[in-house]
């Protein structure tokens, strides 16, 4: 997911360094990824671990010295759980056009009225694009322009975050019977900072019509996969698989990692990604799915609307199928709904997800199910979470 962010950042002229900030315990997989990404994009990349979950503002405030080292004029902040065209150079140009070197820019996009309530809503001056009003997840309609979670800041932002920090500290002191778990360092950019900045001539919105979506659950990954593949077809058609006499049949946008082995009788696509070292057997059909590295799809299997986890194996003639949960295709501004797993006490039909190292027996059907890692199934399952 995050490689797309890194690729976009690396393309911005004069980008000096990329910092990944999170509460996540670093591990070998992350270190390997950082090494290969630095080689690929020729830019220093570091991971900075928060000592606690500090919120969207607290994290960057905590690491402000790291961020400001080398004296950058400006820096971008991107949420990891979004997929986007990432129009970073456009945001930079927009800030320079404004003529105010100290203004901040947030990326905005259009949502429909109903779904806008699930996002941060922005009211802006139609001519100057200044943010006049900002509300996170309002209960009534405010604006169709929503916050994409992608920002361009100057070092001055830390003064504004710092004010929130001090205010939090004072409130904690005054508050009696504090349970000790609340921290002044926990700062939310959206509620704590943007709402205060709105209408002060500091915060601007750059509106984009290019693709954007949240990736809040594994279910949105198939939709995000489709968006990125369609971006590839326009910007990097060389990355997509093409029909050839020796290769499999390709329908629509398909990515196949060069190390994957795909039988020529397989039929892939549209909207399929085949990962590193994957083996796809004879007569296999894959549509609207992501096959992660090391997976094995044996002969005649059929995989639809699913994510197949790392090193999983699907037996001959097995069928792995999910129910797509796409945004309304007739509404250009519709976003993917942040799915709830259960509705009225029942598992809602969604894409099928196999965790890593899952084994599906030959001839079984796995429908609308989530299978946890390292499971070896012995029969068919439908509409279940297999623990």
């Amino acid at each position: 997911m995050i490689q797309h962010h890194i690729e976009a950042c690396a393309k911005v002229p004069n980008m000096k360094e990329i910092l990944l900030v999170g509460f996540y315990q670093p591990n070998e997989a992350l270190s390997r990824f950082l090494v290969s990404a630095q080689q690929e994009f020729k830019i220093p990349i570091r991971y900075l671990q928060e000592y606690a979950a500090l919120g969207t503002g607290g994290g960057i405030y905590h690491f402000r010295d790291q961020i400001l080292s080398g004296g950058p004029e400006a820096f971008f902040v991107l949420n990891a759980d979004v997929c986007s065209e990432f129009p970073l150079p456009e945001m930079l140009a927009f800030q320079q056009q404004r003529g105010d070197a100290h203004s901040f820019v947030m990326l905005g996009t259009t949502a429909n009225r109903k779904q806008s309530l699930n996002y941060g809503c922005i009211v802006a001056n139609t001519e100057t694009c200044e943010v006049l009003h900002y509300v996170e997840k309002p209960s009534t309609f405010i604006s169709e322009i929503i916050n994409c979670g992608i920002y361009l800041f100057t070092p001055a932002i830390f003064q504004h975050i710092g004010k929130v920090f001090q205010k939090n500290q004072q409130e904690l002191l005054l508050e009696e019977g504090s349970n000790g778990w609340q921290r002044a360092e926990v700062i939310r950019l959206e509620q704590d900072v943007f709402t205060a900045l709105a209408g002060c001539g500091k915060l601007y919105v750059y509106k984009t019509d290019s693709f954007w979506s949240q990736i809040k659950s594994a279910g949105s990954a198939i939709y995000a996969n489709r968006l990125y593949l369609s971006q590839y077809s326009q910007r990097h058609p060389e990355r997509l698989a093409r029909n050839s006499p020796e290769g499999p049949s390709i329908r629509g946008n398909v990515y196949i990692h060069p190390t994957a082995s795909v039988d020529r009788s397989a039929v892939l696509g549209p909207n399929v990604s085949i990962g590193k070292g994957v083996t796809v057997g004879a007569g296999v059909r894959v549509r609207e799915s992501i096959i992660l590295h090391g997976a094995l799809l044996q002969d005649h299997t059929c995989v639809l609307n699913s994510i197949v986890g790392w090193d999983s194996t699907i037996g001959r003639w097995a069928r792995v199928e999910g129910t797509p949960s796409d945004p309304n295709p007739n509404d250009p501004y519709a976003k993917i709904d942040s799915e709830t797993l259960f509705r009225d006490g029942r598992l809602t039909p969604s894409i099928t997800i196999l965790g890593c190292n899952v084994t599906i027996p030959a001839e079984a059907v796995i429908l609308n199910s989530i299978v946890l890692p390292h499971k070896e199934l012995s029969r068919s399952f439908k509409n279940q979470i297999i623990l």
Binding site: A282, G283, R285, R287, D299, H300, C302, L304, R316, W317, R319, E321, E363, V365, L367, K382
Partner: protein
């Protein structure tokens, strides 16, 4: 000898297949259901078969004229204007049945087994009473009406409907042989032979039971049709193994019409019947299915416990299971999943059917 076959109505239990042709003409193991019975009856010396039908069908009449030619026997259709139950049709056909004084057979048209007609004649002549019925053993007698009879002679004491405590594990198998004198007991009105005639005959000491050896199945509905097919193929394995198909890619008992074409890398069986002119493309997996005449199963599909109707087309990477029945000339689009679907004739299916459902 004569035989009367109770064909009855439209065979609604075997829909959607019976929406396209009369039930007796639906192929069971690549031969019309009725032909199994006709051939066995002729083998036992029957030269005149009367079909008791409650509807008229030109298709059925035409087919019977052909069977008359083929088998060299006489076939009459006795048409009931109103439903007469299981005994009334005998009264309706009284004139035909009393043309000679010989005993005659009566059978339900839904029954499939190793027909024991020659043994029935011998058994019937041996005890010398008015009627003999064939009984078969079942595992769960509480679901049926059972027959209580003397172990040595087979003389029937009584009938018990759905017994709650065990009294017998033998049930009426739907095959009888009677002396013409039986017809005195039956009036021309709706009557059940099992409930109204047999108990009286048993009381009079005129009814005997012969136990059936081997398999038996009422194939009147799709689920049982498939179970019956498994039993029939197993019996074929024992008696005529040369009629079954074998070779790489074939597992267990599989019956394939010589005009059918099977592609590469398929695994077919166990318990599969493939009809005339059927095309099974490469990489298909079929088990426990009947594929009727002229159908096409496209590559990489997976079928279990299905009946595919005549001239139907099943797309690539389709999965069908759980007694899915396709009527005649049904099209199933690529990559769909049909679970227990019952699809009416001439339909084109464009969406999966994840739960059992009738598709109209």
């Amino acid at each position: 000898m004569k035989a009367l076959i109770l064909v009855g109505g439209y065979g609604t239990r075997l829909r959607p297949l019976t929406l396209s042709r009369p039930k007796p003409l639906v192929e069971f193991c690549n031969k019309p259901i009725l032909q199994h019975q006709l051939e066995a009856l002729r083998e036992a010396g029957v030269d005149h078969v009367i079909l008791a039908v409650s509807y008229m069908s030109e298709v059925l009449e035409g087919a019977m004229r052909e069977q008359e030619q083929r088998l060299g026997i006489r076939i009459s259709l006795s048409h009931e204007k109103e439903p007469l139950g299981t005994a009334g049709p005998l009264a309706l056909a009284r004139e035909l049945l009393t043309e000679s004084s010989e005993p005659f057979f009566v059978l339900n048209s839904d029954v499939i087994c190793d027909f024991p007609f020659t043994d029935m004649v011998r058994f019937h002549k041996h005890h010398g009473k008015e009627g003999s019925i064939v009984v078969t053993k079942v595992e769960e007698p509480s679901k049926y009406g059972v027959v209580v009879c003397e172990a040595e002679t087979g003389r029937i004491h009584r009938f018990v409907e759905k017994p709650q405590v065990f009294v017998s594990n033998k049930i009426n198998a739907g095959m009888y042989i009677f002396n013409p004198s039986l017809l005195c007991r039956i009036q021309l009105r709706p009557t059940s032979i099992e409930k109204e005639i047999f108990p009286v005959m048993a009381q009079d000491g005129e009814l005997y039971a012969m136990e059936l050896q081997g398999f038996w199945m009422d194939i009147g509905q799709p689920k049982d049709f498939l179970t019956g097919m498994c039993m029939f193929l197993q019996s074929l394995r024992a008696q005529h193994p040369e009629k079954l198909h074998s070779g790489p890619g074939f597992v267990g008992n599989v019956l394939v019409d010589p005009s059918a074409k099977i592609g590469e890398n398929c695994t077919i069986g166990p318990n599969v019947t493939i009809g005339a002119g059927v095309v099974v493309e490469d990489g298909v997996r079929i088990k426990r299915c009947t594929i009727l005449k002229g159908s096409r199963i496209r590559s990489h599909s997976w079928l279990e416990s299905c009946i595919v109707g005549w001239r139907s087309a099943v797309g690539q990477w389709v999965r069908m299971e759980n007694v899915t029945v396709l009527g005649e000339d049904v099209i199933v689009n690529d990559e769909l999943y049909l679970n227990g679907a019952s699809v009416l004739p001439h339909k084109s299916i464009g969406e999966s059917v994840p739960e059992p459902h009738i598709i109209m």
